[in-house]
C-alpha cells in the first residue's frame, strides 16, 4: 500500500498565472512519456520481475513517479490559477477550458487524453526494462524541451529537478538490465506447446 505525505517531493510555488506553460506541462502530466505513464508502467510491470533487486527498483521508482506526477499536477494548477479567459484562449486552451475549466486533467498539450495504450507490460523482464530505459530518456528530452520554453525560475527549478531524476532512474534501470542479463539461463528457449498433453 501507499501512505500519503502531505508535501511535494520538491517545492513547487508558481506565483503568477501562465496558461501557455500549463498547456506545455501537460506533456508530462498526461502525455505518452508522462509521469502518469511512468508510474503505471513500472507499478504494473513489477509483478512479473524475477529478481528481488529488480522488483525493488521497479517498485520504488514507480513510487517516486507518483510523487513526480503530483508535482506536475501542482505546476499545472498553479499556472492556471488566476489566469484570465483571454490569456487561456490566447494560450490555445479554448477547447481544454470548455471541457475541463481550470481543472487538472491528464491529457497531452494537444488535448489527447491519457491512455494506458502508451505503456507496456509484456511479462518479459528484459523487454519491460528496456522500455523503461527508453521511457526515462524520452521524459528527459521532454523536460529539456519544457525548460527551453520558459525563463521563469519558479517553473525551471522543479523542471530541472525532474529532469535530473530521469537521468538517475535511467542509470538504475541500466543496472537492473545487467542483473537480468546475468540471470539468463543457457536453455533460454521460448515456451512451446510442442508435446503439450492438452492437444490444443
Amino acid at each position: 500500500m501507499w501512505i500519503y505525505q502531505k508535501k511535494t517531493e520538491f517545492p513547487v510555488n508558481i506565483t503568477s498565472p501562465d496558461p501557455r506553460m500549463a498547456k506545455a506541462l501537460m506533456a508530462q502530466y498526461g502525455g505518452p512519456d508522462s509521469e502518469l505513464g511512468a508510474a503505471t508502467r513500472y507499478l504494473t510491470q513489477r509483478f512479473t520481475m524475477p529478481d528481488d533487486r529488480v522488483k525493488a527498483i521497479v517498485n520504488d521508482i514507480g513510487t517516486e513517479e507518483l510523487a513526480h506526477w503530483e508535482m506536475l499536477g501542482v505546476m499545472i494548477f498553479q499556472c492556471m490559477r488566476g489566469a484570465s479567459l483571454c490569456d487561456i484562449e490566447e494560450a490555445g486552451l479554448l477547447g481544454y477550458y470548455t471541457m475541463h475549466g481550470k481543472g487538472v486533467y491528464p491529457a497531452d498539450p494537444n488535448g489527447v487524453p491519457f491512455t494506458t495504450a502508451y505503456i507496456q507490460s509484456t511479462g518479459d523482464p528484459i523487454t519491460d526494462i528496456v522500455e523503461d530505459m527508453a521511457a526515462e530518456q524520452k521524459a528527459r528530452t521532454t523536460y529539456e524541451h519544457l525548460m527551453s520554453l520558459t525563463d521563469n525560475p519558479e517553473i525551471i527549478a522543479p523542471l530541472r529537478f525532474l529532469r535530473e531524476r530521469e537521468v538517475v532512474h535511467y542509470q538504475r534501470f541500466g543496472e537492473a538490465l545487467s542483473i537480468l542479463q546475468s540471470r539468463i539461463p543457457n536453455n533460454n528457449a521460448v515456451p512451446s506447446k510442442m508435446g503439450c498433453p492438452c492437444k490444443l
Binding site: 501512505i3 500519503y4 505525505q5 502531505k6 508535501k7 511535494t8 517531493e9 520538491f10 517545492p11 513547487v12 533487486r53 525493488a56 527498483i57 520504488d60 521508482i61 517516486e64 503530483e70 499536477g73 501542482v74 494548477f77 498553479q78 538517475v168 532512474h169 538504475r172 543496472e175 537492473a176 542483473i179
Partner: protein
C-alpha cells in the same frame, strides 16, 4: 465540517520557520530516496547501508520535530501527534 483540535482557528499558512523545517525534511528525504534506489540494485553495499540508516534516523527525527510543532505530515495512522489537524494544514498546491 469540524475536528476536535480547534485548529480551524489557527493560521493555516506556513511561517518561515515551518518552511525551513519542511525544506530540511525534503533535503534529507531526497538523500534517503537516492540511497534507497541505489541500494535496490546494490543491496550488499555496506557503506551505502550505513548512510541509509543514519539519514533515515535523521529524517525520522526531523519529521517528529515537525509533527510535534505543526501538523501531521502523514495520514492512515503514521503521524502520532496531537498538534494540528490533517484536514486543515496547508495542501501542497495551495
Amino acid at each position: 465540517m469540524s475536528c476536535n483540535c480547534n485548529c480551524q482557528n489557527m493560521n493555516r499558512y506556513m511561517d518561515m520557520t515551518e518552511k525551513d523545517l519542511l525544506m530540511q525534511i525534503s533535503q534529507i528525504q531526497f538523500v534517503c530516496v537516492e540511497l534507497n534506489l541505489y541500494l535496490d540494485t546494490h543491496p550488499d553495499d555496506e557503506a551505502a547501508k550505513k548512510d541509509y540508516l543514519s539519514y533515515s534516523r535523521m529524517l525520522h527525527e526531523l519529521i517528529k520535530t515537525y509533527e510535534m510543532q505543526y501538523w501531521p505530515l502523514h495520514g492512515f495512522g503514521h503521524s502520532d501527534t496531537e498538534t494540528g489537524c490533517w484536514v486543515y494544514s496547508e495542501w501542497p498546491w495551495d
